[in-house]
């Protein structure tokens, strides 16, 4: 038995409460008032025979399941905000230890349960995906039958349908029912109802499109989620960070090693502490406040001619001053100013001192470029200084041997070998010393000569965010459609008024999906201008329990 046939001849799908065409109740229900939810149509999920596909479908079609998914998402999402996510813990910290050190046992549990990386965990993403599936299926299951029911509804309804509307009234003994109905029709038309007549019966309807509001809203949400999903597709989204030292160039990630950015100069301007206007505020913060900062940058592109490597030219594409909220953009990429580091070492100037020769320090001065040191320095007076070893970021490695952590000169150490003119550099060894910031050690016995640092040159480093986002237009469109649906469903409401003439007795019934008072006002207006009495609200003065069971305002 797939279909239920109503006495009016309409075939209704299995699970229908009220005949789609005439509205006759097909199932016995408790209470005086019919459940008008989804027009009493069968939701698609209510099939009598279930294949596995149907079972999955019905699971996601359930509003109960949908609500549970939302509740779970809310709970887990809020859990993720208890402690900072992994990407926001101080750089260089080991997350396995950090959470326990900072937050104790709770932190340890937090880490072990994977909440430190919650928003990209597989189960959180699965929850979001289920929400999307639930939205699609639940909406499809409801909007299709609702649309069909509202489209196929007839003007003449079954008496049982009218009697079981929340607003219902009977008027007998009206002298000229036809002219009264014509008057009522005029009034309703004036109130901008859409009036249909059939066999002397009236169906006045207004604001049906408000019924589609929730579904339009869902479509917006689904588009929004699709936009979010696209971020995981290759080439759609990039959010990376790059540090560029003044005078250096770095590759822009995501461009396949094709584009580079050179930092020509980094500028920073602080608020003037002497200025009357800011003095008070600056004293309150206690530290200097940045007014503006800027990177004068040049975008470079690897030339397509020739082979990659030592023969490749980098072509200058454009110069740009990157400021906060004023990014350098090219080919969908944007480079934003977000951070800076001041005063990183770039060059040392040394001199050589000898107790017995005071003029020596004037004669010998040399610079060591920390990004490309020379091997050998020779001087006119016969002195010769070699760099034996250079460690840009000095560290003792696992074997207790001097080494470097990376190629950034954050903690440079240099081992010099000094040959005075009387020492043969090919046969004898010179005076060896280890030099760094606040470090000056003789490595082979007492040295007659001392290397002194005269000057330090520093550069600034700019921190930029590399951003590419092709999903933003999709997400915006989703958001706009979401709002349209919300407004459509909230600021309009669907009202229907039935007036039927049954051999001189007028049956009046009304239904609204919300704002019943407006519907009652419309009935009042009819009764004020005609002899038709205003119908009653059947839920008033009724047993509370019953009216709640069948609350027709529920959507």
């Amino acid at each position: 038995m797939e279909k239920v046939k109503c006495e009016c001849g309409h075939l209704n799908p299995y699970g229908t409460y009220l005949c789609e065409s005439c509205g006759k109740p097909l199932k016995e229900e408790k209470g005086k008032v019919a459940n008008m939810r989804y027009e009493g149509v069968a939701r698609r999920s209510q099939t009598y025979k279930q294949t596995p596909i149907d079972k999955i479908w019905n699971f996601f079609s359930s509003v109960k399941v949908g609500i549970w998914i939302i509740v779970l998402l809310l709970l887990t999402s809020s859990l993720g905000t208890l402690f900072p996510q992994e990407m926001y813990i101080p750089p260089g910290e080991n997350p396995t230890l950090y959470y326990e050190q900072e937050y104790g046992l709770a932190g340890k549990l937090y880490y072990q349960l994977g909440f430190h990386n919650l928003y990209s965990s597989w189960w959180y993403m699965l929850l979001i995906a289920s929400l999307g599936v639930s939205l699609v299926i639940a909406s499809l299951d409801r909007v299709v039958p609702l649309y069909r029911a509202l489209k196929t509804q007839r003007v003449t309804r079954h008496e049982g349908f009218l009697k079981r509307q929340r607003i219902f009234g009977e008027a007998t003994g009206i002298t000229d029912p036809d002219s009264e109905m014509a008057k009522a029709e005029e009034i309703l038309k004036e109130k901008r109802y859409n009036v249909r007549r059939e066999n002397g019966n009236i169906l006045a309807e207004k604001g049906r499109f408000a019924r589609w509001g929730p579904y339009v809203n869902h479509v917006g949400l689904i588009i929004f989620l699709i936009g979010g999903m696209l971020r995981f597709f290759p080439g759609m989204y990039l959010d990376a960070h790059v540090w560029v030292r003044e005078g250096e160039q770095e590759v822009i990630s995501g461009t396949n090693g094709e584009y580079f950015l050179r930092n020509n100069e980094f500028l920073i301007e602080l608020y003037d502490e002497e200025d009357e206007k800011y003095r008070e505020a600056l004293q309150r913060t206690g530290s200097p406040v940045v007014k503006t900062y800027q990177t004068s940058a040049t975008l470079l592109k690897r030339s397509n001619e020739g082979t990659v490597g030592s023969e490749t030219e980098l072509e200058e594409v454009k110069d740009y001053d990157i400021r906060v909220n004023d990014p350098l953009t090219f080919e969908g990429f944007s480079l934003y100013q977000v951070d800076y580091k001041l005063n990183e070492l770039s060059q040392f100037t040394f001199t050589l001192e000898n107790e017995s020769d005071e003029n020596l320090s004037d004669e010998i001065q040399f610079q060591v470029d920390l990004n490309d040191p020379q091997k050998l320095y020779e001087f006119d007076n016969g002195y010769r200084i070699e760099i034996m070893e250079y460690f840009p970021n000095f560290v003792l490695d696992d074997n207790r041997e001097p080494s470097t952590l990376n190629r950034i000169p954050d903690n440079p150490r240099i081992i010099f070998e000094v040959f005075p003119p009387d020492v043969n550099h090919e046969e004898e060894s010179g005076e060896i010393s280890l030099i760094g910031i606040q470090v000056n050690e003789a490595l082979n016995g007492e040295n007659d000569h001392t290397i002194r640092m005269l000057d330090v040159e520093m550069v600034d480093v700019t921190g930029l965010t590399i951003r590419k986002d092709h999903t933003l237009p999709i997400i915006s469109i989703g958001g706009i459609i979401f709002m349209i649906g919300l407004i459509q469903g909230s600021y309009w409401h669907h009202r229907r008024i039935w007036i039927q003439n049954r051999e001189g007795t007028l049956l009046l019934a009304g239904h609204a999906n919300k704002n019943w008072q407006a519907l009652k006002n419309d009935f009042q207006l009819i009764s004020d201008n005609t002899h038709i009495p205003s119908p009653k609200d059947q839920t008033e003065k009724e047993d509370e329990g019953v009216s709640q069971n069948n609350d027709p305002t529920k959507q």
């Binding site: 797939e2 599936v133 699609v136 760099i387």
Partner: protein, 175 residues
Amino acid sequence: MKQRRLIIRSVILIVMLAAIGYTFYNHFSTERGLVDQGDIAPNFVLEDMEGNRLELADLQGEGVYVNFWATYCTYCRDKMAYLQEYYEEYEQEGVKIVSINVNETTLQVERHQQRQGLSYPLFIDRNMLVSNAYGVSSLPATFLIDENGQVIERQIGAKSEEQVLESLNELIPGS
């Protein structure tokens, strides 16, 4: 009617499942390198410490073991010691070792070469052009390129002596 409904439902579910599956695959699978197995290795030109020019394309017909390294990378040091031991032997078999430093100072590379006693040529990748073209982000990174210029494997991280030997054997032309 019943049949149609089943088909519609299945199609909708499959489409959604495919989209979600693809998203998860992208998110959780280990990322494929910019240059990876099966790709034609991008050509490059580098100069060694003596200024000798090397172009990858000239090595057609030979297996090429391209190794990106840095002085501060301990695993690279081990790997380069193994290569030092075997490179002459494999050169005769038609396997070339191309050892590329990731833009450290010439001084450091030279001292490293002396200290570790490396006698095969070392190349410095100025401005990281080659490293970036190959998508190298962690070291050591090795690309095994066969005699036709095709990448047969991309290896990241430490390798034992046996593994290095195995890779070198794989590279012997015609093997």
